[in-house]
Amino acid sequence: MKRLSDVASLREGYDLAIIGAGPAGMAAAATAGGRGLSVLLLDENPGLGGQVHRGVEASPLAAVPALANVPGAGRALAQAAARAEVEFLPGATVWHLDAARRIGVSAGGAARMVVARRVIIATGALERPMPIPGWTLPGVMSVGAAQTLLKAQGLVPEGRVVMAGSGPLLWLYAAQLVAAGHPPALLLDTTPRANWRAALPHLWDFLRSPYAAKGAGLLARVRRGVRVVSGVASLAIRAAPGGLEVAWPGGTARADRVLLHQGVVPQTNLAQAAGCELAWDKAQACFVPRTDGWGETNLPGIAIAGDTAGIAGAEAAEASGHVAALAALHALGALDGAARDAAAAPHQAARARWRRGRAFLDALYLPAPGFRVAPDEAIACRCEEVTGAALREAVRLGATGPNQAKAFLRCGMGPCQGRMCMLTVVETIVAARGVAPGTIKPLRIRPPVKPVTLAEIAAMDSTEAERAAVEGR
């Protein structure tokens, strides 16, 4: 792997560009490298790993015996990617992608446009928003954020830590805090009890999947060391003298820090900006790009691998990264069909194995509607400070979806470009209208999908016609 330090060292064009260096992106790089093609790997973070294997290359936890196994999970994959014959630009923000596979890259305050014959989007997942009153207060963070601090800097929260929400990551991080000797004071489990009924039909598949073994001990370890309140149906956080107060039906607790989590959803902004089609996934209650078994989207030459194409977890993401890279190698003429199929088979089998247990987790941990819809007083759009009440007022005025609501209220117009609010806005609108989320289109996303300076945009090339469109007056 050749590590680049700035956009000036990028070539003008690549055979394959992989956007995101998490499990899917690292796997794709490992598979695509060394076949005589030019391959570029881009990531916003300073190193390989993505969010799930954050800090894998230089983990501060290696020196912490109780957690020394945490970075272990992604190490082999990161080493395989690091050995691969690819170029890697870390610290790079990808802010533009279009159907012509032009990629706008910015690093260190300078921008470049590169073109790729094939693109694999591996932008991963982000945590599902949890729009409860008070979730914007300082001291309230996502569990994923706290875990990033653990993995990248070896930091653990001190004082009275209250964790609240649902999903595997909540329990995993709680277990890591227990192992580190800093258990949270309280865990408020919002998993709806009624979900068990929907999950049970998938239990057998789950028990046969590798997830079962992974997860079983986790819950037990946390329950041994942490006070857990189950069946929490609503939550609110408010500032209290010297800290925070968390309230739920039947109790309140003082907290120095509150950590929220209710699962993860695909991070689709770049795919959307490029023009990839999305569809509502009822089981995961989120928009998911349409892809085929090879990760191909509706746009020729643009594929999606990993959780961006639907949440399936790190191991399945790794498998799908290999599969997407093999498809790209075939399309680029570096691999014939038979070789592609043979090489892909074990990865496809692995992906199926990991996906098998997923339906159970999806059903069990689907957050209750009350946690997906913003209550009147809760902020739905953090950037523009738009509340649930404002969204319902916009519906009364005639807004039928997130795009019209954006025009009325600015929700989704801030720098996060709807990443933190789009699902909440959609679910709040459909709940107010009494329609199904699948009847609504997602927020239209356009580049730049992350902020870049005007000067960086000004540095891009224009054709004569494009210049004339602006100056020809």
Binding site: H96, D98, R102, G104, M113, A394, L397, G398, A399, T400, G401, P402, N403, Q404, A407, F408, L409, R410, M413, G414, P415, Q417, I440, K441, R444, R446, P447, P448, P451, V452, T453, L454, A455, I457, A458, A459, M460, D461, S462, T463, E466, R467, A469, V470, E471, G472, R473
Partner: protein
């Protein structure tokens, strides 16, 4: 059961809503038939200028109509605020066209002169100012700006709040807003009135106003009218919210009351869609940074492309059907500037006896006559 209304307005953008609000204010039972959440909405892509200085070269009447609407705007904004509580942040501090070369400035000056020498022109105040004069009013002006045209009548609003206020005002005045009701067919009824087939069933209305932007091209022939409109793409860049630093709007660049700077001065003919392209955005960004170098360091948080609704000569089309009495057409590309006139002047005409002589110049019949120019 077919729902019946006194009058149906097809189109829920700023043009349709302004007309519908005016009609509802005259006591008519109004239905606003709109498309859904995803549609070609020029109203969500406009630049929000209330702009006078460049309007009317080729049609003197358009200049006066525009100036009249700008003059109505303060009262219009106050009425919207009283009715809806929404402050549309109207500011009319005067605005600039900035030129980055002597040649551009000469062209601009010549166009202004030609406009003002037209027969029937109602004079507006304007002047060419040099770099130093403009720099005193607009701190941070780039050295590349050689001069520009200032017109004290120019201004801008918060167009998204205008969009919302028009919705709220029309509803408060009793109009019925029907989203997800794209119109498929319009049939004049033998005894007068219209049967309108939408994606959600049929609606009857005594009269009908077509205000569907580019959609008018297909709808107008159904009621014996023509709407020669074409799409012209414009692209816009928007910065992060910034503390106020641009006291006047520029034709291609303005700071909103919320702090964002909007940059947009592209015109692309024959667009295939509303997409944005990095090449056009880059060309816009370069010009903006030359006008105000401090913009270079600001973050761009959004961009968009939208389709202007352009008639053949660029001027509005207001028409009334001869073969299907009670059918009207309203289309223009300056829906924000003209919102006050549409709501307070045009709508009352439609609600009353029909279009009056004062807007006769805007009939599409003008396109039937071979142009002398």
């Amino acid at each position: 059961m077919t729902r019946a209304f006194d009058i149906a307005v097809v189109g829920g953008g700023i043009v349709g809503l302004a007309v519908a609000r005016g009609l509802a204010g005259r006591g008519l039972g109004v239905a606003i038939l709109d498309e859904g959440d995803v549609a070609r909405r020029a109203s969500r892509g406009n630049f929000a200028l209330v702009w006078v200085q460049s309007k009317g070269l080729g049609m003197a009447r358009y200049g006066a109509w525009t100036t009249g609407s700008a003059a109505l705007w303060p009262g219009f904004a106050a009425a919207l605020r009283a009715e809806t509580g929404q402050d549309v942040s109207l500011a009319q501090p005067g605005g600039y066209s900035l030129c980055l070369s002597e040649e551009e400035l000469d062209r601009r000056r010549a166009a202004m002169m030609r406009m003002h020498n037209q027969p029937g022109w109602e004079p507006i105040p304007w002047e060419v100012q040099d770099h130093d004069r403009i720099a005193r009013a607009m701190p941070g002006l780039g050295r590349d700006v050689v001069g520009g045209v200032f017109c004290p009548l120019d201004g801008h609003v918060n167009s998204l709040r205008l969009f919302r206020a028009l919705h709220a005002s029309a509803l408060a005045r009793g109009a019925t807003y029907l989203p997800d009701h794209p119109v498929r067919d319009i049939a004049p009824l033998p005894g007068g009135g219209f049967r309108i087939t939408t994606a959600q069933g049929e609606i009857e209305a005594g009269r009908i106003v077509l205000a569907a932007g580019l959609g008018n091209a297909a709808l107008a022939p159904m009621v014996g009218l023509t709407a020669p409109v074409r799409p012209q793409r414009g692209q816009v860049l928007v910065t992060e919210r910034t503390a106020p630093f641009l006291p006047h709007p520029v034709a291609t660049l303005r700071q909103t009351d919320e702090g964002s700077v909007m940059i947009g001065d592209s015109k692309e003919e024959n667009p295939v869609d509303e997409a944005v392209g990095p090449g056009v955005l880059a060309a816009m960004a370069r010009r903006a940074a030359r006008m105000f170098p401090v913009l270079g360091g600001l973050n761009i948080v959004r961009s968009w492309g939208a389709l202007r609704v352009m008639s053949r000569d660029g001027f509005p089309v207001y028409d009334e059907s001869e073969t299907a009495p009670g059918a009207f057409l309203v289309t223009c590309h300056s829906g924000v500037t003209l919102a006050a006139a549409h709501s307070e002047v045009l709508a009352p005409m439609i609600a009353g006896g029909g279009l009056e002589d004062s807007v006769a110049a805007f009939s599409a019949r003008r396109f039937d006559v071979p142009s002398a120019a």
